[in-house]
Amino acid sequence: MDFKRIYAIFLRQMFLLRHNWTRFSNIFVWIILDVVMWGFITKYLNIIGNAEFNFVSVFLGALILWNFLIRVQQGIMLGFFEDVWSRNFINLFASPLTIGEYIGGLILTCIVTSLLGLFAMLILASVAFGFILFQFGILLVPFIVILFIFGLALGVFTAAFVLYLGPAAEWIAWPLPFFLQPFAGVFYPIAVLPGALQIISKFVPPSYVFEGMRSFLFSGTVSVFSLWVGIGLSVLYLFLAYMFFISIYRSAVRKGRIIRFSAEE
């Protein structure tokens, strides 16, 4: 691993962000709209629920954490798509850059963009709707770690998928987190799912975050073991996604797909 080459991938993305208002605003616009919309919905629910249950903490907290996961996935994916759109793969992969360094550069980019998005959501939610993220205390660390690592895994997996199927497969990458959302228990407890779907949830790392978040808010306790399971699963998925990317890349080099990528063979 050469840090200069990782930095080159990161810097390319920063150049694009720094000089393009449209790209930069993409980090904030959707999540701000989401927080505003859900902020008012939770306020309304608090009123009709006679404030016996704080919807702001539960729903807005879940929304912010879920959006963080999506921003991480999209952070990796958008960095990769920049190279798809600018047909830059030949230049990159004919240089000394390794796959690990390329992914490392995308991860570095994604740390910056996802944290910017997270801070924007937190500031807005706390100023406009009285949401206090630090109510979770130290638990925030494993929550963020699980979602970040799993978001990376999703991002790397979708990038590999597009590398395999070609630019036409780009649309598949966008809704991927939403396929997982029902099993993640973002807005409801996993217990409300039918038995078979509950089993699937056990393999979805964010479910441990959202179950943990609700457990903490309602009972003040969290199963530390389940958080470790969430971290372990996320790391496993990231490793598998990385191996998947490498195998797709090797197959692309073997079959000549890197040099004819835009032809979508």
Partner: protein
């Protein structure tokens, strides 16, 4: 000259049973400019892609500056660079940004100074803050060539480097590359469909046809050896009657 910058041995590439490149071997010495010629589909781009490590060979080996491209890819590619008409730098970055990023990728020392030197060398100073996508094709070619020599490579691969240039600009670029090759002892593999250019620039040519090296030699004397007036006539013969040439 015993030292070899590029050594290709028994290189073969098969796509689903179809041989795009068939058992070719050649080498390039320091300071030597070798033309890789042949009709469309002869296997030139596949060969260059395998040298660059973006296409895996089915058989054979490629060594750049002594490093095996398959097993020591990063080391081998540190000594290489390329410019190709089908590999443009990102159009949404400025000339300076592109050169700086590729300089980082190739591990260039004193990068800022090197980028400024290249901007001057290729008359790109006035485009320093211009996005590459806004440049004319000739200006973009100059950026690609600046990128291609940013790491002072020992092996430079050029796939039709002057295709979009006017005759005067093409002449300047040819002279630059010749001087880089001579002064820095850089080996160059050059593909072109402009036979006058090849004759003027290359020390040696390889004619590819149907994935094999059909002819090899000095571009000035080779046509006469096969009873042709010039390299263009020889090229046409290779493209249309490769079997007859093989028998001669």
């Amino acid at each position: 000259m015993n030292e070899k910058i590029l050594e290709v041995k028994n290189l073969t590439k098969t796509y689903d049973g179809l041989e795009a490149v068939r058992d070719i071997s050649f080498s390039i010495a320091p300071g030597e400019i070798v033309g890789l010629l042949g009709p469309n589909g002869a296997g030139k781009t596949s060969t260059i892609s395998m040298v660059l490590g973006i296409l895996e060979s089915t058989a054979g080996s490629i060594r750049i500056n002594g490093f095996d491209v398959r097993h020591e890819r990063t080391k081998a590619l540190t000594y290489t660079n390329f410019a190709a008409i089908y590999a443009q730098v990102p159009g949404n970055l400025t000339v300076y940004q592109n050169l700086y990023i590729f300089g980082l990728l190739y591990g260039v020392k004193n990068l800022r100074a090197r980028v400024l030197e290249l901007l001057k060398e290729f008359d790109l100073e006035k485009f320093r803050y211009t996005k590459c996508g806004l440049l004319s094709s000739g200006e973009q070619t100059r950026v690609h060539l600046a990128k291609a020599i940013i790491n002072e490579p020992r092996l430079l691969l050029l796939d039709e480097p002057t295709a979009s240039l006017d005759p005067s600009a093409a002449h300047i670029i040819r002279e630059k590359i010749r001087s880089f090759a001579a002064n820095d002892m850089m080996g160059v593999l050059w593909t072109s469909h402009n036979m006058h250019e090849v004759e003027a620039v290359c020390d040696r040519v390889l004619f590819l046809s149907h994935g094999t090296v059909l002819l090899e030699g000095d571009p000035k004397s080779l046509p006469k050896m096969y009873g042709k007036q010039n390299l263009e006539e020889l090229f046409i013969a290779v493209a249309r009657e490769p079997l007859l040439l093989e028998l001669e």
